[in-house]
């Protein structure tokens, strides 16, 4: 039995060494590869200048054609919309922009029904930040707030790569290792949607909450750090119920640019909350005209 226990202890020790080795290897590759995700792209812009930065949820990700902005204005733009982002996620990305010392002329932040959401975090942003969990105090603070199993993730080597295996497991590690490019960098963060297949059942909240602590945090953080933030609202389709919510939001945030009703053609929408590629092109042109060309 002693021999067996010794044998098992050796296997267990080997397991720990393998876990540490794999954790180190995966993290190193993610840190040093060409950007494949939006966060890696943001990280690669350390100490650089981007003229316009767009923050928000998938509604921004699918609506702002960054390359079109560059073509029309000659200025650089990056779309940092993350799927399922709330104000808290946007606040984190804003802090990361500051942390990485990325210079910019304008930071355009989407505010709409997400103003009403204070709980929860974008799982997409979580996946993308996961290999960089110890990167800086901003990412650490983000995971302190968002992760339920933070201790396991933080202190068990390789557990994060097992737990989020479909997104940051071996397949993604390998693609990072061989520097396989994604369209994220090519499109400067814009993710186009194709087609038009929506039902007319989209609804905005009927009530608006008195305040969102993360929105307030964004405003204060931007003021302190002299970051040029602008709040705007991406189009909804005309069938959206309770569109009055945006009017209420505008009363609360007078500086909000309300573009919720600027696209009327249903064919421009993938669904009631998301523009398709044609819609994104039209809206980006409109946005350039209204906000990005100095007249």
């Amino acid at each position: 039995m002693k021999k067996f226990i010794k044998h098992m202890m050796l296997i267990f020790f080997g397991l720990i060494v393998i876990l540490l080795f794999l954790d180190f290897s995966f993290t190193t590759v993610y840190e040093n590869s060409e950007p494949r995700t939006k966060f890696q792209y943001l990280r690669s812009l350390k100490n650089k200048k981007v003229d316009y930065i767009f923050l928000g949820s998938s509604r921004v990700e699918n609506s702002i054609v960054s390359k079109l902005i560059r073509d029309k204005t000659g200025k650089s733009a990056i779309n940092l919309g993350f799927q399922a982002s709330k104000m808290s996620d946007i606040y984190t990305v804003l802090k990361l922009i500051k942390k990485y010392n990325i210079k910019t002329d304008k930071i355009l932040i989407q505010v709409d029904y997400i103003f009403n959401i204070e709980d929860g975090c974008s799982n997409i942003l979580q996946y993308e930040l996961m290999p960089f969990i110890r990167e800086n105090e901003v990412t650490q603070e983000y995971f302190n707030r968002c992760l339920i199993n933070k201790k396991e993730i933080l202190y068990t080597p390789f557990y994060r790569y097992l737990h989020y295996e479909p997104k940051i497991g071996f397949r993604e590690f390998f693609l990072n290792l061989i520097n396989k490019k994604t369209s994220i960098v090519k499109n400067n963060g814009f993710v186009p949607l194709q087609g038009n297949s929506f039902e007319h059942n989209n609804s905005l909240p009927s009530q608006i909450i008195s305040k969102n602590k993360y929105f307030d945090g964004i405003k204060t953080f931007a003021e302190i750090n002299k970051m040029p933030v602008i709040f705007f609202c991406v189009p909804f389709c005309k069938h959206t119920k309770n569109l009055i919510f945006i009017k209420k939001l505008k009363q609360k945030i007078p500086e909000l640019y309300d573009f919720s009703g600027v696209i009327n053609n249903d064919k421009m929408f993938k669904n009631c909350s998301h523009l398709n590629q044609n819609g994104a092109n039209d809206f980006t042109k409109y946005l350039i005209e209204k906000m990005l060309i100095d007249k």
Binding site: M1, L15, I18, F158
Partner: protein, 477 residues
């Protein structure tokens, strides 16, 4: 509590330590701790079904004794048929009742009468097909006077409820397992080490091969209407390795952990995808079930002793029943029927026992023939697996039809954001490892075992599929 779960990773060492350090005084204490652990293990799924397991155990224990003690043939028959009827009755109610009710209703509706079946809202107790078959073999063996009845309830309970084999086999025989639980086990380092290696290899098969293949196979089968010929073909291959990795991986883990307790279980898989014909495949796939049907159905029906017509009838009976054992769906019956059709030419040509030895390859033409026969057997197996995996027979035919009519062999991007061809290299690597170890129970033992253990652990950690948690396929049977 699955073998590949964290809770089981805590449960197994705890039972191991209790077994060898606290309850190791006598055979009875060893059996007692294993029984308690087994009942706890089973109750982790649904404690209510524990009563069913205990009742089933008690029924066969009691009827076994009554059969042995019966003074008249009528009494023997009575207790025997009582056990058979109650065992099959439970299986019928929990597993097959809804199928028969729905099928009957469909048949009646086909004649223009409008009926709606009276369906039962019951959950299938996990492992019921396995422990029912344990009990049945025990009672049949006593009835046929092959074995003596077991009078020690704890020993008998352990034979039925032993947790490594409780929910997905292998289907043990009283003649094999009961004598082992009747004696005190002593710790054997080599056996335990072998067990650990077998558990590790089983985990590789489950989390690296089966679960990874499942990710791709599911994306293809669930969207087969939009898949091209290449993806559909790959889908069948992936499912073949999914089900093999899943079930044989489970069996390896069961056999391995049983060795930790000093008990040997029946081997359930013997590299079936290296079979040269379907008869050989069935000697190597789910061996404990195939031999169960051979001994308790095929031979009592007359086996091979009668004329050719009887042999054919018996062959079809065991394949159809074997298919139906897997689940209450026509797809499983079709799968059994197809395998019977595959078997038929071998039976007619009396070649069903022509490939008995382990396959070997040399640099000559006859080896090429062997390779072709292995590939064709695998292809036939894959074709049958389509029926096993499909939701209906119509869907299976549609799937097969699209393989031939689509005729596009370009790489296809799947719904799960992966290309259909991506894991071919992984499967080839797995085949090569299995080929090199086809004369052993697992590939880790032997020379350089430390290197092989390290590689396997690395594969389990780095290549395994974890987040999209998949239970073992055979648990549903």
């Amino acid at each position: 509590m699955f073998f590949n779960s964290l809770s089981f990773a805590l449960f197994l060492p705890a039972v191991f330590l209790l077994y060898w350090f606290v309850f190791n005084k006598t055979k009875s204490t060893q059996n007692l701790i294993l029984i308690l652990a087994s009942y706890y293990f089973y109750s982790c799924w649904d404690w209510r079904f524990l009563f069913l397991l205990v009742f089933s155990t008690f029924l066969d224990y009691y009827t076994g004794i009554r059969i042995e003690k019966a003074k008249t043939e009528t009494a023997r028959k009575f207790w025997f048929w009582l056990s058979i009827a109650v065992n099959l009755g439970f299986l019928g109610i929990f597993k097959y009742y809804n199928f028969f009710a729905a099928s009957f209703s469909e048949l009646v509706n086909g004649f223009g009468l409008q009926t709606s079946p009276l369906l039962l809202n019951v959950i299938l107790p996990v492992g019921i097909s396995f422990y029912t078959f344990h009990g049945l073999s025990y009672v049949i063996d006593i009835y046929l006077k092959r074995i003596k009845a077991e009078y020690n309830f704890i020993d008998y309970s352990l034979f039925v409820s032993y947790f490594p084999l409780l929910v997905a086999g292998p289907i043990e025989r009283a003649t094999h397992l009961l004598p082992q639980v009747k004696v005190k086990r002593s710790f054997d380092f080599e056996k335990a080490k072998e067990g650990i290696y077998q558990i590790i290899w089983g985990l590789v098969k489950k989390v690296v091969i089966a679960d990874t293949c499942a990710t791709y196979a599911n994306a293809i089968f669930d969207n087969y209407e939009s898949m091209n010929s290449l993806s559909l073909l790959l889908g069948t291959v992936y499912f073949a390795f999914q089900i093999y990795g899943d079930f044989s991986g489970y069996s390896d883990m069961a056999l391995g952990m049983s060795k930790l307790f000093g008990l040997d279980l029946l081997r359930n898989f013997n590299y079936p995808y290296f079979s040269r014909d379907i008869a050989e495949f069935w000697r190597r796939w789910h061996i404990s079930l195939s031999t169960w049907f051979r001994d308790y159905l095929y031979i009592p029906l007359g086996g091979s002793s009668g004329g050719m017509a009887m042999k054919i009838r018996n062959t079809f009976v065991i394949f159809l029943v074997s298919g139906f054992w897997h689940g209450a769906n026509w797809t499983f019956i079709a799968w059994g029927f197809i395998n019977a059709l595959y078997f038929l030419p071998l039976l007619l040509l009396k070649k069903n026992r022509s490939n008995m030895e382990t396959v070997s390859l040399y640099w000559n033409w006859s080896s090429l023939k062997v390779i072709l026969s292995m590939i064709s057997t695998f292809a036939l197996t894959c074709l049958a697996w389509i029926f096993f995996r499909a939701k209906s027979i119509g869907e299976a035919f549609d799937y097969i039809g699209r393989i031939f009519t689509n005729q596009s062999f370009l790489p296809q991007y799947l719904e799960n954001e992966r290309y259909s061809y991506e894991i071919i290299l992984l499967i080839i690597a797995f085949i090569l490892v299995e080929w090199n170890s086809r004369t052993q129970t697992e590939p880790i033992s032997g020379r350089y075992s430390w290197v092989k253990v390290t590689l396997c652990i690395m594969a389990i950690i780095a290549l395994g599929t974890y987040s999209d948690y998949k239970e073992f396929i055979y648990f549903q049977f």
